[in-house]
Symmetry: C2
Subunit: 415 residues, 2 copies
């Protein structure tokens, strides 16, 4: 990602350690993987207000239950400890005990309570984590934590599972003459479907903001970003997106929805959209980022469910993989989405860096050049643009193509 | 399928031509495919009462709109004309004109109106059918129609698209000393998802029954049979299931929900379940029939959505393909289905001809033998049995595994 100015903020180097006062670390704790880092720490000596959004899956993993209790309370947070390899989901009371033991390991070092620590897990469901290993790993993380971009990147890489690219970003902007910074990292490649946040994501910031507004901004932003991506329609048991704010930027505290709040919200939106698209494009086995843009729909809700239905359809996804101009599949997916519309109003276009063409015009197919269509659909990012001509609402959803490699990765994930 | 007696009825040879008075034919009309039959006719000189259930997709294909108008009316039906290759969906007024022209071609021969004819199409969406070709094909079908098993089978084969096996069945039973017969054929392999019927299916019968009760029996039976299968979550624009009853069995007319009605309903259920499972097991690229059986759930609706969520999950389907005992994926799919339950009540088993084993017991994983699990999951039909321990409702759904071949078939379906 190139450094550049976007609207009121600057994209800068780094991830979770970019904001003032945040340290990070990674460790190879042997939770499940051999010969790779599998634990990450985000740490702020200055206590943080926190906010979180979580999976809507009825089967919630232990770390989701633990974190929700923490972010719903007024306890200040100092650390986030995350492991990859095992998801600590479907693990009963033993799973909850592991969350507490992890928090206690940090509390023993800094003085405090286990609830000062948020935890996260990603990997195989229905397997227990070895408590001794995760506690030893946590101690190692605390001993080796440091400031600086490299530590943040190492933490971000440690939580990857089937991800092929590391996903982090940081932005800064001014509030009341003070520089405020947001940093973030996320992982997610399979079991990704819009319903709450569908991945693990961690945002750090040195902004000074009231907890209630931090949660409001996060809940607001997630609906149009992380909740609009899908890889496979499978809403995970572990989805978690957390924000920690330690206030070290020393800006005038944000206590109402003023212009400063709006600026922060926009920066948070940018960061979340960036990571969401990165995750969709890095979906398991994916060769292309697949975007569906619905415009002029009757309602925002209709636009959203149609956009998500198009990028979520296996047949649409397979057509994108095959660069096949089989536009009927996109219309079919809109039709079973639950939204109501008249196909005689609809116009459908293929769009990418290679060009744009209309293929369906208000109820009937439009003759088009197959070679030209294939060219447009062969780019790394492909958009299906659909004009409903029935209102003024719009929505965009992101997914990826369905490939042999998706099947390969998931037919034998545990080994 | 072996001939045998099941409950009160006998499974017999043949399909749609098994009941008295039904003829069939196939033709190679060159609608889209070359060198294969692509049109089918079912014909009864004796007028039939008819009933139908159709796709819930908002984008309905022209034949769906045509047939629904016919089965909703009191017009008697003599023929069904079906083509494969092009779906006649997203085709505007021209698509409706093609349905009418097809009906008119039959009406010209038998004397009558176009509405005496039901039509069906399956294939590529968003492409127009050449009217001259489908009219010529219809005339050829009418000229070559005949009685007998072979004609029924030829018709059944002509409507296949990516199907790899022909799907037909017939049963007979006694009502009031008269032999009543049901015959049926169906096609469906991709774009298959439970919402109305998700395929083309045609049932013929010589039973004497009032139209209203015929429709009631069909609507009743479809909810637990065709509506409980999924291949890829894509509810087609063309799904249609029709029943034609010509009354030639001369049984006392069924005019109320008596024991005779119940017998007919049971036979219809058997036929529909048989074809539904055949379709699921012959899902595009499938190597296994994948069954999810939910027992002791709080409500029937909960049981149904959980069963369908499990067989519909890409991650579950990929695990079945890999014979991978990754049971957390099934629990995860139940969790995001929309049903409410406590994972601490749930018991999950793998079951097939090779054996049965528990892998999850009320909130926690059960240690199990991996080799034994792989053996159970390697059969051609695999069941995930889930005891909710929360009530007394149950439901079964059928799907198939997700394979390289599914992606291959659908990445380039149009060519």
């Amino acid at each position: 990602m190139e450094l550049n100015r976007i609207g009121n903020f600057e994209v800068i180097q780094g991830g979770v350690t970019a904001p003032k006062g945040f340290q990070a670390a990674s460790a190879a704790a042997g939770i499940k993987y051999k010969n790779r880092t599998d634990m990450a720490l985000i740490y702020s000596e200055t206590p943080c207000v926190s906010a979180g959004v979580y999976t809507t899956n009825v089967v919630k993993a232990a770390p989701v239950l633990w974190d929700k209790a923490v972010t719903d309370s007024d306890v200040k947070v100092h650390a986030v400890v995350v492991n990859s390899g095992i998801a600590n989901a479907c693990t009963g009371q033993q799973g909850m005990d592991i969350c507490r033991a992890t928090g206690q390991a940090v509390a023993d070092i800094i003085g405090g309570v286990p609830e000062n620590v948020l935890v996260g897990s990603t990997g195989v469901i229905g397997m227990q984590i070895d408590t001794a290993k995760i506690v030893a790993g946590t101690k190692e993380l605390m001993a080796s934590k440091s400031f600086g971009i490299e530590a943040g990147t190492a933490a971000s890489k440690a939580i990857m599972t089937t991800d092929t690219i590391n996903k982090e970003i940081a932005v800064s902007f001014e509030i009341g003459g003070k520089t405020v910074t947001l940093g973030a990292m996320s992982k997610g490649s399979g079991m990704i479907h819009p319903n709450m946040c569908t991945m693990l994501g961690y945002v750090t910031t040195d902004i000074c903001i009231e907890k209630k507004l931090l949660q409001e901004a996060l809940s607001d932003v997630v609906t149009d970003t992380f909740n609009m991506i899908t890889v496979d329609g499978d809403t995970s048991t572990n989805d978690t997106l957390l924000v920690l704010a330690n206030g070290l930027a020393e800006n005038p505290v944000i206590a109402e929805k003023n212009a400063d709040y709006q600026l922060f919200r926009d920066a948070l939106y940018f960061v979340c959209e960036y990571l969401a698209k990165k995750m969709a494009g890095d979906g398991e086995g994916a060769t292309a980022l697949f975007e569906a843009k619905i415009i002029n729909a009757k309602s925002k809700e209709d636009a959203k469910i149609m956009a998500r239905s198009v990028v979520g359809s296996n047949l649409s996804k397979a057509a994108i993989y095959g660069h096949d101009a089989n536009f009927g599949r996109f219309l079919c997916a809109m039709g079973y989405s639950g939204a109501d519309f008249d196909q005689n109003d609809v116009q459908l276009y293929f769009e990418s860096k290679a060009g744009k063409m209309m293929v369906f015009d208000k109820g009937s197919p439009v003759p088009f050049d197959e070679d030209e269509a294939t060219k447009i659909l062969s780019e790394e990012a492909v958009t299906i643009l659909i004009n409903m001509n029935e209102g003024s609402a719009s929505a965009t959803a992101w997914g990826c193509d369905l490939t042999y490699d998706y099947v390969k990765i998931n037919a034998d994930y545990r080994s």
